[in-house]
Symmetry: C3
Subunit: 341 residues, 3 copies
């Protein structure tokens, strides 16, 4: 139906499986669909959302995007609507798990045209958590496309909404533009999925990304190498610094996010102690002043006057509402592209 790259039938689990051209194709379709009547292209189609963790923006944007195009949505909460799932192949299931993930996913594949999953980390070693067992198991067994609604490692639909927002704010061209992703203090250890998504988006779109973070708050090492390779191919770059002021100098975009230390993932008390030493990491009007014309972004929920000052979040350079709004527009484009309608 579309003349661009063929996205039909694909999983949307990480931007790593999409080229820069494909990402630009999706954002272009999202932009075009904003001007068109919605119609009912998804009539008779169904989306099964499975939440292992809570969600507002993602749940709302997925539900309304799919439903407003005529489709049917079911919202399943693990532990309430799903039986406890066995994840291991060949297991003798005489303990707590009532159903094997293989069976639950194969059955959902018979009912739904797309299965979407949110499953974050459950503590423990980062080496284990980063395997993203839930979404990987769903991908392995599903016979329909799988959408990632945020996993341990990635949040590609947020990243695609961000890509649309960045393109619109910067006049369409992203290559050579400068993004400063700055870590912020947060009372909780937040997932790495959003910062990873920002890194992957910048790398795919040929942007120069500087990440400012305290020592101990690097990305997942393997994913960072993936981003570096992607940046090399796209003409972008990826650097890590420990000074936010330096990072935001002349940035076109200042993206604030908080995340826990992957190296201390198994030691939450130590992680908290380390994080608490960095309470001063907040995006202030002074910090934004170093960018000249930089825009402020955050994926929300945002801790106001902790992660960023009210004056920044509500200021004229803030894109936070556009970002959230673009989740809906990108989602409509993605559903139509993946289902080929």
């Amino acid at each position: 139906m579309s003349a661009g790259p063929d996205i039909q039938g694909r999983d949307v689990v990480t931007l790593d499986t999409f080229s820069g051209e494909e990402i630009r194709h999706i954002t272009a379709r999202a932009r075009a669909l904003k001007q068109e009547p919605l119609g009912s292209p998804l009539a008779g189609r169904s989306l099964a959302m499975v939440f292992f963790d809570p969600s507002l923006r993602t749940r709302a944007s997925f539900s309304i995007a799919f439903g407003s195009l005529g489709g049917t949505v079911i919202d399943l909460v693990a532990g309430r609507d799903l039986w406890p799932l066995e994840m291991h192949e060949g297991a003798v299931m005489d303990s707590l798990a009532d159903e094997h993930v293989r069976d639950a996913v194969r059955v959902l594949s018979e009912y739904a045209d797309i299965i979407a999953i949110r499953a974050l980390a459950r503590g423990g070693d980062w080496a284990q958590a980063r395997r993203d067992t839930v979404i990987v198991s769903f991908q392995k067994h599903a016979t329909v496309p799988i959408f990632n609604m945020e996993s341990v490692l990635d949040h590609p639909c947020q990243a695609l909404g961000d890509a649309l927002t960045v393109e619109d704010a910067l006049g369409g061209e992203t290559r050579g533009k400068r993004v400063a992703l700055t870590w912020t203090y947060h009372p909780k250890a937040r997932p790495l999925a959003v910062p990873h998504g920002v890194g992957m988006m910048a790398a795919k779109l040929g942007m120069d990304l500087t990440v400012a973070r305290p020592e101990g708050y690097d990305f997942d090492p393997a994913l960072q190498r993936t981003m570096e390779h992607a940046a090399q191919r796209s003409g972008g770059s990826l650097d890590f610094v420990d000074d936010p002021a330096a990072a935001v100098e002349n940035a076109d975009i200042v993206y604030a996010a908080s995340w826990g230390s992957p190296s201390l993932h198994a030691n939450p008390d130590e992680e908290r102690a380390l994080r608490d030493r960095h309470r001063s990491w907040q995006v202030t009007p002074e910090l934004m002043g170093r960018t000249a014309t930089g825009h402020f972004m955050h994926a929300m929920p945002i801790r106001r006057n902790v992660e960023a000052a009210d004056a920044v979040v509500d200021g004229p350079s803030s894109l936070v509402i556009e970002q959230a709004a673009n989740r809906l527009h990108v989602q409509r484009a993605l559903f139509r592209e993946v289902l080929g309608v």
Copy 2:
């Protein structure tokens, strides 16, 4: 689209912002729509329902009204689907709240065409509770119409369903008709939203309302003054008595409801002790017999044989099922009026 008053784009938070003419316009539209095919006037539109408290009739009537007209509904439960919300402007959000109500509501406004909220009191002083902080905050920050699905102070969609029921039962004319609202015993301290809604409806429709309640069970004083002013303008009246038998004498409508004492709102044990002294406040066939031709109403859920005898609830003069059914019809009319379709 409609030739009557312009309701498009309005909040539906209290009947106080609607004139008697506007209320009659809505009930007339509801009555007319019962005879028409439903069609899909809300195709592509979406409703976000946010529940801080549980709901059966309201959840079901809102969902089915919106969905059966072709729209998409999302059902969000606070504490499960929403992050704990900060309500104070300028707060330094380093404690429990993960998101500011301002941000949650602005984002939902980007996704949904209408936001509906149920948020009852959480104990404490009545002076504080009556501020209805949640729904007032949603109104303040939303850029789309807000519907009240029951707040501390009001329940306007229930009241509009009741208005349709009363008009139909009394042959269309409400002016000069007599409503007796009688307090009933209930093992729990129930919200004041329903009785307030009855008071506001009667005052706007020019009815003579007599409220029978034990000492200590008055309405919110400020809202009572609002009702008295509205009744003066409409040619109605509002009186409080402490004898149900006197109140129902020659009443056209006997409306049973239970509510907690606002003056003892911060002292639940004292409130319970006072309430327990009034276990005899029940609508019996004998009480109904004093009305000659009076109809029985209750917003449900009803404690049978505590608030009212089975013989009353199931008797020929009972309108309780019509009331509940009219919630759906009024809701369809309201959604179409507010969205202008």
Copy 3:
């Protein structure tokens, strides 16, 4: 609309109220609808699902079947969306129950075109549990068709999906075909609804059913007599044995299921002790080997390598995914038949 038996307006609570001809009519319609565009025959119609117990396959297949045909679905969870319900007529409701089932069901009947209920046993005597009070109360008070999404006694929509699966697997003719229903070990005492449904399906479709179970694991005696009478009329038969190997000999279908002992329903510790003595009851490739061409069925969720070996569940003779998929197709046919569209 259909030339076959008149199913419009009927409750779907047990297959006992449907003739073999009617069951074949429903499965034939399901088979035919698979080939047709879905359209929107349920536009403007609504389904209220009420869950007293969790569900995956049933929730998903009901929701998607109704929604994908253009209808609106609400998903109500007892204890969260419904008030605690009083079940006794004439009760003085001064205790825990906030609403009488009579009122909740009459109101839902005003909003929804179909009400579907899942309500399993809550322990206690089997003589009490088998009364299926919740679904019987819903049937008594509803003015719209009631669907059983699994009750203490029965699971007719699962049984109809199984009927479609069996017909397709056996080339269309069920009369005289042999079904072996074999009890399997399970760490929990599972409901009797699925095995009862298998028994009722086989009896209505003229099949020869042999049930292999350990002593103490009989069906509900009254329901067993009902099945025996139905089998006599249809030319089928019903036998109970205690040796799975004998039961599966030459079987066309091996249906695995686990269930708790009804006679020990009030004594869960004793029941567990008895059940634990039968851990060897598992469907293995060796057992399946005795059937020559037999198919394997299970209603899921299945405890792999406890109830049946992976090699059986995933083997070429397994129908478990077809069974689950057929839930959706049968459900679409049922909704259209019952609503007459």
